[in-house]
């Protein structure tokens, strides 16, 4: 044991003296996690896209088209452009002819043309034209989705007008007017409202959907009206039509949900990089003849390997805890409340990652090969294991492969602890899997070390 402690102390002394290693293990990952956090908008209230330049040409005289334009302006995802800037600094309204040249100059990637015949009698539905430069597929789909949401949530009467228009074409204006009047009278008789108002609303395409967003749920006694929840209800017509009640069963108390979901995956990726980097130290020691000197002393191969393993676990544990604590400071993740359980999980994750680094050193013929192989495998494991995207987004076979990665099981464990507040007993299956991975990978590494030339 004393020999192993001496070897660990040696690795510690080497580590402390190597400012680059200290920086790459602790400072760089913390800085990158901060940058990633900003890039992915962690802790931002509105986590969706914002400020996408979006040109709108409104050629319609329909008042609802104006409402649509205002709704688009109010949408934070878009930065609506409606004016063309002349070379002399003056402006004029954009026309459809302006759009294509400007899009080719990358002034904006999306444009909406609301034509004069937004609603026509000869067809059902709205006529809108979207011009796009879909160089980013996700952005294009996002823009389309937001546009649909804005239309149906803010100007539902456009659909009503379309129906009225089509009906006028099919049955003629007198019969439609008669139909609307009958409906209005029935509504007025039934609900005691003004029949003329109802008939005018029907003619304008307002079948009452607009009224839905003016309804308020009966507030509890004493509650202030206009609370954030009721405001949201008024603004979203379709949430009034389809009432979905959501109940968060797990993670209600999580303070920083977005950060809690992702920081574990990032931390695992950096841990893998740090520990695989330490694999090259095995080659350095071999090249310097240090293993000859150590093995000529009363030191066994198993002690050298165990010393390396213990050092790796120690560094991994400290790195993970440091990164999580940095996550607490930067993003408000609750770490201190779960520290003992998290520390146990970090030991298991660090053990698995250290074993991975040792295996790389055991199977790679040169430090360069080890480094290249490490980069490939770490990026693969991080992507497949869910460090970058939720694995539910991935095909079934990738989801199956994910379950063979250290990243997946570590992230599952982190989610259990930080999201669900799992106890040590709850964690036992994941700890068992990580420990089994560590033991299995380490066994292969030791076998390869004994057959290879590292100690030869």
């Amino acid at each position: 044991m004393r020999t192993i402690l001496t070897l660990i102390h040696k690795d510690f002394s080497l580590f402390i003296r190597d400012k680059a290693s200290v920086s790459l293990t602790f400072i760089v990952p913390v800085a990158l996690i901060y940058v990633f956090g900003q890039v992915f908008g962690i802790n931002r209230k509105d986590t969706g896209p914002s400020g996408i330049p979006f040109a709108v040409v409104n050629a319609s005289a329909n008042p609802a088209a104006g409402q649509l334009l205002n709704a688009l302006r109010a949408e934070s995802a878009f930065k609506v452009v409606t004016e063309f800037k002349n070379p002399d600094g003056t402006t004029r309204p954009l026309t459809e002819d302006d759009l294509r040249p400007l899009m080719k100059q990358n002034a904006f990637r999306f444009a909406l043309v609301i034509p004069a015949d937004l609603i026509a009698e000869k067809r059902f539905g709205l006529r809108l034209r979207i011009l796009s430069n879909p160089r980013n597929d996700i952005e294009t789909q996002t823009v389309n989705g937001i546009l649909q949401k804005v239309i149906f949530s803010n100007v539902p009467e456009l659909l009503g007008q379309s129906l009225q228009s089509r009906a006028r074409d099919l049955v003629g204006q007198p019969q439609l007017k008669d139909f609307n009047a009958r409906i209005a009278r029935t509504v007025a008789d039934t609900f005691g409202v003004d029949a003329a108002v109802v008939e005018r609303d029907i003619a304008d395409g307002n079948f009452g959907l607009r009224r839905l967003d003016q309804l308020e749920e009966t507030p509890p006694a004493g509650a202030a009206t206009g609370s954030p929840a009721s405001t949201t209800t008024r603004q979203d017509v379709f949430s009034q039509i389809v009432k979905i009640e959501t109940e968060q069963v797990v993670g209600q108390d999580v303070k920083a949900p977005a950060a809690t979901r992702v920081v574990g995956g990032w931390a695992m990726m950096f841990l893998l990089f740090a520990l695989s980097g330490s694999a090259t130290s095995v080659f350095d020691e071999k090249k310097a003849g240090l293993y000859q000197r150590l093995l000529a002393a009363p030191v066994r191969r198993s002690q050298i390997l165990l010393g390396k393993f213990c050092w790796g676990v120690l560094v991994g544990l400290v790195q993970l805890v440091t990164l999580f604590l940095a996550g607490q400071l930067m993003f408000g993740i609750n770490i201190t409340g779960h520290l003992p359980t998290l520390a146990v999980l970090c030991v298991a994750a660090a053990a698995a990652c250290t074993a991975f680094g040792m295996l790389l050193a055991a199977i790679a013929p040169t430090p360069q090969a080890a480094s290249g192989l490490a980069t490939f495998l770490i990026l693969m494991m991080s992507a497949v294991g869910g460090a970058w995207f939720p694995i539910s987004f991935m095909p079934d076979f990738i989801q199956t492969i994910a379950k063979f990665t250290i990243v997946y099981w570590s992230m599952e464990g982190f989610a259990q602890v930080l999201w669900a507040g799992a106890s040590l007993t709850d964690l036992l299956p994941i700890l068992g899997i990580l420990t089994a991975i560590a033991a299995g990978v380490m066994a292969i590494a030791v076998w390869r070390f004994n057959r290879g030339t590292i100690f030869g």
């Binding site: 001496t6 310097a288 000859q292 000197r293 000529a296």
Partner: protein, 300 residues
Amino acid sequence: MLSLQAVTKRYGALTALDGVSLDIARGEFFGLLGPNGAGKSTLMSLVAGLRSPEAGTITLDGRPLADRTALGFVPQSIALYEDLSAEQNLSLFGSLYGLRGRELQARVTAALESVQLADRRRDPVKTFSGGMQRRLNLVAALLHEPKLLLCDEPTVGVDPQSRNAIFDFLEARARAGLTIIYSTHYMEEATRLCSRIGIIDHGRILALGNLDELLTRLPFEDEITFPATPATAPFAAQLAGQGALTTEEGTHCFRPPAGYKLSAFFAQAESLDLPPRLFTSHRPTLEALFLHLTGRTLRE
């Protein structure tokens, strides 16, 4: 003290050591002389316990080599942690041999002083010159005061001044009773340092004894050198069939066969108008012996 009996070591199809038997007495400064690839490092690694022989036995004081603290091993490379200080390196290696506390500190200090590195004790090894690193590499194997020191070509790449310092250090240790096995392919080192020399090639000990004993195996008492110039070229061509002639660094070296008459040598030289002052007679060296035994030079 150390005994190797019929030791054989193979690497695949290559036989690195072929039935080597060797006895080294306590206090002996034994030189293992041979060219690169002769089997010196393999023999050292077997004695150091880094590898196991396929056949044969190695014993120290009559017992199998189990107690590693009895040995000190100086690897061919500078086996030091270059980012650590001299003191940290020695403390580490001393700790691995079970030294602790004040005793360890005292030995580290003494070791650094013995190789004139006490004033650099806290400097990282990577800031040392090659010679300083070699001295530290050597002394790192002696902290635990072993009975037997194995030096595997410890002066490779060392400047002459540092080499002499290492020689002085080792000679002082040998005088103090330390048993040393010293492998080298420099005959000058073996000649200067070693009380007994084993010449090794292709995994076999070809000759064993002190310098005088070894040189008596040569069939001639002297070797004659003369400048390799265009004027001496015809003479060298004549001599080539009469004995062993080697040429190195602008000098021909002629080693006559047994019974060769030197008068015939000088008669031929005179016939080619080569004056006697061109020729120098020397006592033969281990190089000549190696050439005689193997037909090759030590550096081939």
